[in-house]
């Protein structure tokens, strides 16, 4: 479904990604694990099209989308949940959801109903402004908003960052059920070992802008291996 080869990007003249190769098959759930500053967010931004690659190619379902702007990628089925959620602060919760459907040819009422069924936590919050929600609620909203556009490929950037464990559990459950019910393909970048291990089928380690290793999720429970691969305390 997604084929990335030799992808390089830079912020100004500082290179961040040094040639990423990544293949994701349809229905697959791939985790990318790494420290802060290793290029996780940069990789996802390049995949959704918010950063221009300096080299390499990105293909989606066989189509070269390397130069395609972000909005067209989203309309082609790529959903993106950014780090920090990026909820529209001055739009109400329901408007945050509606704006995600505005350019998609969908039945708004029906999609809204479905999404609220998946995320019942949002129901009592619909009229609130996005900015007053808690971090966990915002994360749920960001996920729900992304699904409103009916994506087939979901890019998730550190969805567990700074939110309470109960909501992390909730998100894991929802993503598991969505994968089967919607046939979603997911690329997740994280530094939360438990979260990435409980969701991913395979995990790539990213270090200094390169994918250095591939491990299976159960290996992440071995502290020595993790320390060796990631340099993270397991």
């Amino acid at each position: 479904m997604l084929a990335v080869s030799g992808l390089k990007t830079a912020y100004g003249r500082i290179p961040i990604l040094h040639g990423i190769d990544l293949n994701v098959a349809e229905g697959e759930f791939v985790g990318i694990l790494g420290h802060n500053g290793m290029g996780k967010t940069t990789l996802l931004k390049a995949l959704i099209g918010l950063l221009r690659p300096t080299d390499g190619t990105i293909e989606l379902n066989g189509q070269n989308i390397t130069r395609m702007p972000a909005y067209k990628r989203n309309l082609s089925g790529v959903g993106y949940v950014p780090q920090g959620r990026d909820i529209f602060p001055n739009l109400s919760v329901v408007d945050n959801l509606k704006i995600a459907m505005a350019m998609h040819k969908v039945d708004e009422e029906k999609v809204l109903e479905e999404v609220l069924e998946t995320f019942p936590r949002l129901k009592p919050l619909l009229d609130r402004a996005g900015r007053v929600l808690s971090g966990g609620e915002q994360q749920i909203l960001a996920l729900a908003r992304c699904l409103c556009g009916g994506p087939s490929l979901l890019l998730l950037d550190e969805p567990t960052e700074g939110i309470q464990p109960s909501i992390v559990e909730e998100i894991i459950e929802i993503l598991h059920s969505l994968r089967t019910s919607r046939n979603l393909t997911i690329v997740l970048v994280e530094q939360n070992l438990d979260f990435i291990a409980s969701l991913s089928q395979r995990v790539h380690i990213i270090q200094r802008g390169q994918l250095v290793n591939e491990v299976s999720p159960d290996q992440l429970s071995d502290p020595d291996l993790v320390r060796e691969f990631v340099g993270m305390g397991g």
């Binding site: 959704i48 099209g49 918010l50 702007p69 972000a70 909005y71 989203n74 309309l75 993106y80 950014p82 990026d86 529209f88 602060p89 001055n90 739009l91 408007d95 509606k98 704006i99 995600a100 505005a102 350019m103 998609h104 402004a129 908003r145 992304c146 556009g149």
Partner: protein, 288 residues
Amino acid sequence: MDTAALLIIEVLNGISSLALTCAGLAIIFGMMRVINFAHGEFMMLGGYTTVVATNAGVNIWVSMLILSPLVVGVIGILAERFLIRFFYGRLVDTLIATWGLSLLLIGIVTSIFGNYITGVSAPMGNFSIGQYQLSVYRLVLIGLTVILFAGIYLAFTRTKLGLIARGTMQNADQAAALGISPPKVYMVTFGIGAALTGLAGGLLAPISQIIPTVGFTYVAQAFITVITAGTGAITGTIVASGVFGTVRQLVTYETTPIIGGVALLIVAVLLLRILPQGITGKIFRRSL
């Protein structure tokens, strides 16, 4: 009694002409954060459109309500495409670029129409309150201003296009990741802001004198009002126009228009000293 009625109408007139002057800028600067120094010239072009079209035999209402916004809207979109879009997010650069645009527009209009005062007479005649004669058009203008602002507010809060515009102004990257093309939204929103400015220029043409440099008289007060409005660009502009329009008109009534303008400035400075985030920043918090 007659004097009181006259004064109330004068104050409402002051508020509505100030609010009209600010409508387009509330969108272009208040929402988009683009410092459009050519705002006054957009009004001037709206005024000339109405004067030229009406003198050429077009119905004055068609000139004011359709031609002026159309012509200036198109000019606005061209300015956005060929100039302003290269400077988004760069406040000082935008200021200089649009200042250049302002001088260019003044130059072009002067070379076509010459540096003369022109104008068009107000439609609808007069009515009297006691011994005073007042123009019916000024009353209509108050009503039109109310309708215009209600329309802008509803368009931004109740329509899909309004939702898209508000979201894009809050976070363009995230909007793009949801299938919205920010460059298109900026172009259309700028065009709408310009069209509203043209409409204001057209509507104010019958009660003002038009010369190529008339923009100068609008631009300062418009910016002061929209800055005072704060984050809630539309509601803030209505409130700020209400305060400043009242002050300016009452002081003008007691003294002269120049002192009225000075009073507006003093109140603006005081207000921004007390409420640096603008009227809608702290109290009266609104998002539009």
